[in-house]
């Protein structure tokens, strides 16, 4: 079983991202489970979403304390939230940032990938310039860095999940896949 | 059929299940609810029952006051006028001169102020005249009726008979028709044209009025044999004499004579300082007329203000016009100088025990004589009927003609009403007696039975559901300024506008008469009241449980609970 944790801010779409990723993995034959941190959400406040994937039915119904990988939808969160808490050795930390991975001073136990999802989202007019919706883009980086899911399955899941701008979201996902730096 | 349901189930059947297996799974009526007529739970049932509003009950002319107020609320002034005209041919007149006992009876007076019925009536009467509205007449009949006296009683009797199709001729002694309305009431209270128009309306029904024909002098009662019935309504046109020493002096005159002369445009001899003796409406009319002729007027009355029989508004208006009042004072003798009035000696009075009239009896106080410096004394202490023209066979009673409640005299075919019979002294009572006599004459001539009188159920204030009403001020009657009034005989009261009439009519509780307010319909918890044609209501007694909520809530006591008569099939 692989457990993934996503950090974002209310309004960035972290919870939806977890659900899209779950759908993509399910499409590829995995058993999945996605859930938000249970509680109330406020726009801009730090939010967490979770994902479990396995080859067989997942019965576990508790929170994730020791994720295999984490995704950070807003690099600024690293200053305020311990995004690597409980992260297993060798786990990926996938960060939305224009900086190269080496600039993040994280423990050498982890692998770091970055993608400028904000710029990609703005280019594809997803959300606004000040609050781009980066959730579909960051999933491309997840596919690229972890290799746990194929980009085609992710793109298809994105198209199924978003109500509008299906093609723009799909292109953003692919662009992020191509632009991921590891 | 559903488990547990049962065909042919009867309401009065007590059902006990032997086993739960026979019972339905839930609490449900066994048969259809169409069978379960919950109306059978009732002990008493509500019925729509219009009662008598106190105003209607108090009106001597029997006007359906609540009815025309209700129509006025809706602005249906024409229909309101027609409704008055069913009972009273002189609404414009009565709206001015009636002492309005309806308002004293009005339940609203316990709440805030009584309805200004009088003012609404005047508006409606004037509305009818302005719009030239006419009443309908039934097919002509062959019988002829003679009426003696064209006062309110005679006019009323003639009007009601004419509407029924009778040919009516009125014989009037005065040169004008109207009786006291024409010769007794001053024009500032009742403009002549108003009276003439309403009389013209009566004549338009075929009534003929022959003026200047004095009964007993120009014609005898027996000369009217060409008529199948006679109605005598000659009124009371003689003033009661003062009966004090010096009464023969020049300058001692009588109220009725003064008012008649003024009304007929005859010359009147009157000084500058006038004493009016009496406290009734004639006294007020005489005093206020004298003031308009430039005199200084003092009213001398032997009781106190509370006992004055005049209409309170009249007294108030007289005071406004500068008339002095000497209460608890009675004339003792006229001080005569050169055969003319040189002054009036009076005596102070005190009030003793109540007399037959219910008012406290005045008792002279010895040694309290005082003088009034006056040159004219107007007697207005009462009036009497002239009965000298009456043939034998007509019985008399207390200075008038003896009649029963329908105006029937002791002589077959002869009827009587108004002051000469009843001595009631008011215009509306005269109008009412004329109407009653007309019904009696119709019964006499046609053989039709008269409707039996019933004991009216008059709605009391306590029966009104006050939760539904809010205080609302009575609309004021606009009046002329004092200076304008004293300059002549112009009418004092100006009358309601249409807007004021609408507002005032809205205040009516509609005591005891359903006015389709929907309260019962809305409140019925069993939805057992249906609205027919969006107006009338029908209680479905199959489902009315007799809870009485409709009766309790009805704002105007127009629904009653009555005992069920179960044993009557």
């Amino acid at each position: 079983m692989v457990e993934i944790r996503m950090h974002g801010r209310g309004g960035q779409g972290a919870v939806i991202a977890s659900q899209i990723l779950a759908a993509a993995l399910f499409k590829e034959g995995k058993y999945v489970q996605a859930f938000p941190a249970f509680g109330v959400e406020r726009r801009g406040a730090p939010v967490t979403a979770f994902l479990r994937m396995d080859d067989r039915k997942i019965w576990l119904k508790s929170e994730i304390y020791e994720p295999d990988h984490v995704m950070v939808l807003d690099a600024g969160l690293i200053e305020t939230v311990d995004v690597t808490a409980g992260l297993k050795d060798g786990g990926w930390v996938i960060i939305n940032s224009e900086k190269p991975p080496g600039e993040f001073r994280l423990s050498s136990k982890y692998r770091v990938a970055t993608v400028d999802a904000s710029s990609i989202a703005i280019r594809h007019r997803l959300g606004s310039r000040t609050a781009p919706i980066v959730n579909t883009a960051i999933l491309g980086a997840f596919a690229r860095s972890t290799g746990l899911v194929g980009i085609d399955a992710v793109v298809e899941a994105v198209k199924n999940a978003v109500p509008t701008n299906k093609e723009a979201n799909a292109r953003a996902t692919r662009e992020a896949y191509d632009g991921t730096r590891v | 059929m559903a488990p547990g349901s049962k065909a042919g189930w009867r309401l009065d059947e007590k059902i006990t299940f032997a086993s739960e297996r026979d019972m339905p799974p839930l609490a449900v009526s066994l048969g259809t609810m169409l069978v379960n007529k919950t109306g059978t739970w009732r002990y008493m049932r509500p019925v729509y029952e219009d009662k008598t509003p106190p105003c209607n009950h108090a009106c001597p002319a029997g006007e359906k006051i609540q009815g025309y107020l209700e129509l006025s609320k809706a602005g249906e002034f024409g229909r309101a006028w027609e409704l008055i005209m069913e009972d009273n041919p002189l609404p414009s007149v009565c709206g001015r001169v009636c002492y309005h006992p309806c308002e004293q009876a009005c339940n609203r007076s316990n709440f805030d102020e009584p309805l200004a019925i009088h003012h609404v009536e005047r508006f409606l009467g004037d509305y009818g005249l302005r719009k030239n509205l006419k009443v309908k007449r039934e097919a002509a009949r062959s019988e002829r009726v003679a009426v003696v006296g064209a006062g309110p009683a005679g006019l009323s009797c003639a009007y009601h008979l004419a509407r029924k199709g009778y040919a009516v001729t009125i014989y009037e002694a005065q040169p004008v028709a109207g009786g006291m309305l024409a010769v007794g009431i001053p024009r500032y209270r009742l403009p002549r044209d108003i009276l003439e128009k309403e009389i013209a309306n009566i004549c338009s029904l075929g009534v003929e009025i022959k003026t200047g024909i004095r009964m007993g002098l120009d014609i005898a009662l027996d000369d009217l044999s060409g008529h199948q019935a006679v109605f005598i309504a000659t009124g009371q046109h003689q003033s009661t004499r003062l009966d004090i020493p010096g009464q023969e002096a020049r300058g001692v005159i009588y109220g009725l004579d003064l008012l008649r002369d003024l009304n007929l445009g005859r010359s009147v001899e009157m000084g500058r300082r006038v004493a009016v003796i009496g406290g009734g409406n004639t006294a007020m009319d005489a005093a206020r007329s004298a003031v308009r002729r430039g005199a200084e007027v003092t009213v001398v009355y032997r009781r106190s203000r509370e006992e004055m029989p005049a209409i309170p508004e009249e007294i108030q208006e007289a005071e406004e016009e500068g008339i002095q009042f000497l209460f608890l004072s009675a004339p003792k003798r006229v001080l005569v100088k050169n055969a003319a009035v040189g002054g009036l000696e009076c005596l102070k009075m005190r009030l003793g025990e109540p007399d037959k009239s219910g008012r406290r009896r005045p008792i002279p106080v010895d040694g309290t004589e005082f003088g009034l410096d006056v040159d004219t004394i107007i007697g207005a202490i009462g009036q009497e009927a002239d009965l000298s023209f009456l043939p034998s066979g007509i019985a008399l009673d207390r200075g008038g003609i003896q009649v029963d409640e329908h105006g029937v005299t002791a002589r077959p075919g002869t009827f009587s009403g108004g002051d000469v019979a009843t001595g009631a002294g008011t215009v509306t009572a005269a109008i009412g007696s004329g109407k009653k006599a007309a019904l009696a004459i119709h019964s006499y001539l046609s053989g039709e039975r008269m409707e039996e009188a019933f004991e009216p159920q008059v709605v009391a204030y306590e029966e009104i559901n006050l939760d539904y009403f809010e205080p609302a001020a009575r609309q004021a009657m606009p009046r002329r300024q004092i200076t304008e009034r004293l300059g002549g005989f112009v009418e004092v009261n100006l009358g309601y506008t249409e807007a004021a009439t609408l507002t005032e009519a809205q205040r009516c509780f509609s005591c005891g008469v359903c006015n389709h307010c929907d309260t019962c319909w809305l409140f019925c918890p069993d939805v057992a009241i249906a609205k027919l044609d969006h107006r009338d209501y029908l209680i479905n007694y199959d489902y009315c449980k007799g809870c009485g909520v409709c009766v309790e809530e009805c704002p105007r006591s127009a629904i009653s609970m009555e005992e069920e008569m179960r044993w009557k099939k």
Binding site: F35, W59 | P25, A27
Partner: protein, 384 residues
Amino acid sequence: MEKVIIGNYAVSYGAQLARVQVIAAYPITPQTQIVEKLAEMCASGELNARFIPVESEHSAMASTIGAAATGARAFTATSSQGLALMHEMIHWAAASRLPIVMANVNRALGPGWSIWADQNDSLSQRDTGWLQFYCESNQEVLDTVLQGYRIAEQVMLPVMINLDGFLLSHTSEPVDIPDQALVDRYLPLARRDLILDPDDPHSFGGLVNPEHYMEMRYKMHQAQLQSKEVAREADAQFKAIFGRSYGSIEGYRLEGAELALVTSGTIASTSRVAVDRLREQGEKVGLLKIRMFRPFPGEEVGELLGGFKKVAVIDRNISFGHGGIFCQELKSALYNLLKRPQVYGYIAGLGGRDVTPQTILDIAELTACRDVPPAEADWIGVKV
């Protein structure tokens, strides 16, 4: 068709597939998406039902009762305070013998204010005459909505389907959304007797005198008892058509076990993981999941647990002054057995406190090292 959906949508899809005709509901966290989804379906025409917006849960249940009384298939959903507000009408629905199905998202009651998972809301409605089911997966939620109508419409009692707040309501899982045609076969709409019908008016809910009230209650009780067999049949039919079944209770790796863990809802789900680990370690521990709480499947529980030495009941609820409610029910079901196990009571996960596999392992260990059950239930993880 399989879709990854949250538990709340599993409820909505279940109601849609059941072709409910009237929905009257008031939103409350964490139930809101059930109502939102159904309202969307009604608006878009995907579901041909009348959606009645109401001003409170009391009205929601009252409207649902009214709709069901006319013979319509009626649905509502609520949670926690909303369920509490419905209480009077909940009795009414059952005693009116109306086949309503309601989803209740288990949530703690305030104060202190809490929006997280806890069973005290639904268990407060234990004695109202409703059937109660507790689910551990989104698939089970959807399937139980369908089974619920099938059972309700046979025994004429309402059915409450419980799912843990957030742990199911907001968690996405793969769910097989059955074919409408198959559901229609499983759940045909039929005209019922004793309905509000203007052409044959009856009065409902009237006075029942002491001569008959007891019999009416006896019949309700009989219907509850009868529903055990009806539920068994409904589950078997469901398996025949859809290939899935749940049972009123389910034993998991009880063969050869010495300790049986007993629990419900998502704690049962997580307990499977813990049991697997214990078995891997050679510990003889199994699980009994209680899915149907009312009627209580006492005989089946007795059959499965009669031979055990120790039983540990984990309750995400508390009957103040006595202990866990499933534990009490279980004890009373076992009491008259000749050979009955010791019953250990544990309180865990109240107000959304996370119950992890470790929590279960701790409970198993605590039970194993004791000889006699303590007088009072243990509160696991409580900071005392």
